[in-house]
């Protein structure tokens, strides 16, 4: 069992490495000079810009910049120790035999330092951590709602296969699948916030002068966006659980149980459900891992202060350390989620472990 986990962990490392490579080169291959964006003040002369460029390493080729971003270590030819040791946290050593200066900024993605945002001059990690709870609140509620509604629908429609209820659930799930979530969100806002006035139109909580936590208010703000997200999950989960439950129904052991004379309810609760739930784990893992990545559109419609909107705004404003930071955090969580689902699947189904 431990070897299985260890093997999967080791496989995750090159994937992370690949993610960082792709994200970095994609973001940095954008047209435009980041230094100019940073130093918009007309009073700053070009000489100052050049010094800033050298200090931040933007005059070096992209692969060297990638290594600097990823590991915090940069290399230059010649002896540059005086020039660079003025930067905070940087310690440089000059290696005479290869005529290169190695500088260590003490950061880098490997050491969990995601850099500084160009826009706010604050550390990227701090800003991300501020916004993570909001996104998690939204996506987790959406996922839980989807599970609560979607799984029973799927099982129910499989049990009553061919009946009217089965057809209704299938039609319902195809419709939910095809429904654009942004349109659904707009319609819901129109109906519930504008016309009826029951629910607020956006935001995470009502703006107050003191920081009181009003659960009713928070729930009112949470309902609509969570349901918009839940619709997508319901569509997916009801189809998936229907297919899985149908497969379980046709197995030998269920037939045996029924021929033994067991009551339907006992067959369901004891034998069928746990076996039908196992493949659900394969969906849940990536679902949990994708909690940070999937709600950009919903957050935009409902003005939810989450990571998705942060990524969107940062990308539009070319704040590439922030964008890279968000991509790395989401990807790490996604990979961990996949790992978790593989491990859980291995725990639940011993046949998988032995492969």
């Amino acid at each position: 069992m431990y070897r299985y986990v260890l093997r999967r962990l080791l496989q995750a490392i090159p994937t992370l490495f690949g993610v960082s490579l792709i994200a970095f080169f994609l973001v940095r291959s954008a047209p435009g000079d980041p230094i100019i964006t940073m130093t918009f003040d007309p009073n700053i002369t070009n000489e100052t810009r050049d010094i800033l460029r050298r200090q931040l390493g933007f005059d070096q080729p992209l692969p060297v910049q990638y290594i600097r971003w990823f590991t915090g270590i940069s290399a230059r030819s010649g002896d540059e120790t005086e020039a660079f040791s003025q930067l905070s946290n940087t310690s440089c050593t000059y290696l005479r035999f290869i005529n290169m200066t190695l500088c260590d900024t003490g950061g880098g993605v490997i050491r969990a330092d995601l850099g500084t945002s160009i826009q706010t001059k604050q550390p990227v990690w701090g800003r991300i951590v501020e916004r993570i709870p909001a996104t998690l609140e939204l996506t987790t509620t959406g996922l839980v709602l989807g599970l609560i509604l979607g799984v029973p629908f799927g099982v129910f429609s499989a049990v009553r296969q061919g009946s009217l209820s089965d057809h209704l659930v299938r039609i319902f799930s195809v419709i939910l699948n095809a429904l654009p979530n942004f349109w659904m969100g707009l319609l819901m806002i129109f109906l519930f916030a504008v016309v009826l006035g029951w629910l607020p139109a956006g935001g995470r909580e009502a703006v107050t002068l003191d920081n009181t936590f009003d659960p009713v208010d928070r729930i009112q703000h949470l309902i609509m966006p969570a349901f918009v997200l839940a619709f997508g999950w319901i569509a997916l989960l009801s189809r998936f659980m229907r297919a899985e439950t149908l497969e379980v129904i046709r197995t030998d052991y269920i037939r045996t149980a029924k021929s033994k004379g067991l009551a339907d309810l006992r067959i369901w609760s004891v034998h069928a459900t746990r076996n039908a739930l196992i493949p659900l784990v394969t969906i849940l893992g990536p679902a949990i891992g994708g909690l940070l990545g999937g709600a950009v559109v919903t957050e935009t419609i409902f003005s939810w202060p989450g990571i998705g909107r942060l990524a969107l705004n940062s990308a539009v404003q070319r704040d590439y350390p922030m964008v890279l930071g968000i991509v790395m955090v989401s990807s790490i969580l996604f990979i961990l989620g996949n790992l978790l689902s593989d491990i859980l699947y291995g725990v639940a189904d011993p046949r998988v472990r032995l492969k």
Binding site: T15, I22, P31, W183, A315, V327, S330
Partner: protein, 342 residues
């Protein structure tokens, strides 16, 4: 009846056995199955109708409406749809509203109303449909070509090639797709052609995995081994034996992919990243309508923007629904194992 035919056939044995029914090929059986599936046929009909409307957008624009999609008329902003009052005028229920609307719009028939700049909504929907459908179709084709090629190579050659390709796909899939798309569209600001290429280049992973799985299965079949033992080289094996076996999966996947791509392109345009104004596309029309939800006519209390919200979203929804239903229907028709259980 069958018995008589059989005995008639038995008496003609000396001449040669007459087959009573033509043997059906796989595609023949699939077509028969499809013909009986009313839902899929309805969806197909709707899709063809949408395609025809989109193709004939200029013709409709000139003859039925009178203006193009980008002709602004600020005096006539937020005009309500002409369709309802026109029907009422025809039926004689209410003969005042229709001529008044017509006079306000200066002779142009705004069947579905106008938006905040006075542009005709129906014309924009039709032209937007052209953009959305074309982008989705071309991007789906790109996805298909790349996905099938990569999947077939990975599945056929196996070994290290397969390992590398799977590593690449797993890595690319680990980055949440929406972030990749946001990065690419926000940073590179593509025009519709480049956007199509990007969408195609970022959407082939699922297809590749699917094809790879299928090629693994087909590779071990007897007739492939037989062909190889007769001396068929790789290219011939792949094109003559393995790929044709994957065609049903490819077709089903393509229908679903086109639907998903319409949703993705609309979502990107809705966020302001995809197609830039003034080009109409269903997603960007919804983007414009987003800020107008609260607009009400002070006198009548009518919500001025309702027709702007319902139209584009409904068309996206119906088109994608039709494509998903077609995909499901094709899957049912093309899967030989399911025929026996119907």
């Amino acid at each position: 009846m069958a018995v008589n035919e059989a005995s008639a056939g038995a008496t003609s044995v000396a001449v040669g056995v007459q087959l009573k029914r033509k043997p059906q090929s796989y595609w023949g059986m699939a077509w028969q199955s499809l013909r009986r599936d009313k839902v899929t046929l309805a969806a197909l009909g709707f899709l063809i109708l949408m395609g025809a409307l989109a193709l004939s957008a200029p013709v409709i624009g000139e003859n039925l409406i009178g203006v193009g999609p980008n002709n602004t008329n600020p005096n006539n902003a937020f005009a309500q749809p002409y369709l309802g009052p026109y029907i009422k005028w025809l039926l004689g229920i209410d003969a005042e509203i229709a001529p008044r609307l017509l006079a306000e719009s200066g002779g142009a028939f705004h069947w579905l109303g106008t938006d905040q700049l006075g542009r005709d909504q129906l014309a924009r929907l039709l032209y937007g449909g052209r953009v959305s459908l074309t982008i989705a179709l071309v991007a789906a084709t790109i996805t298909l070509v790349i996905g099938v090629s990569v999947g077939t190579i990975a599945g056929y050659f196996g070994g290290r090639v397969d390992d590398f390709i799977i590593w690449m796909i797993n890595t690319l899939v680990s980055i949440p797709g929406i972030y990749l798309l946001i990065i690419v569209t926000a940073i590179f600001k593509p025009n519709p052609l480049t956007l199509t290429i990007f969408l195609g280049a970022l959407g082939w992973f699922g297809t590749a995995r699917l094809i790879r799985g299928n090629v693994f299965k087909v590779r071990e079949l007897d007739y492939v081994m037989a062909a190889r033992s007769v001396g068929a080289h790789n290219f011939r094996l792949v094109t003559q034996h393995i790929l044709p076996n994957s065609i049903p999966i490819i077709i089903v996947n393509m229908a679903i992919d086109i639907g998903t791509l319409i949703l993705v392109e609309s979502a990107l345009s809705f966020l302001g990243l995809g197609i830039q104004p003034p080009t109409a596309t269903w997603g960007s029309m919804l983007n414009r309508a987003q800020n107008l939800l609260f607009l009400r006519d002070p006198e009548t209390g009518v919500y001025l923007a309702m027709h702007l919200i319902v139209g584009p979203g409904l068309l996206i929804f119906l088109t994608v629904l039709a494509l998903y239903l077609i995909g499901d229907g094709l899957r049912d028709a093309l899967d030989p194992m399911m025929k026996n259980t119907k």
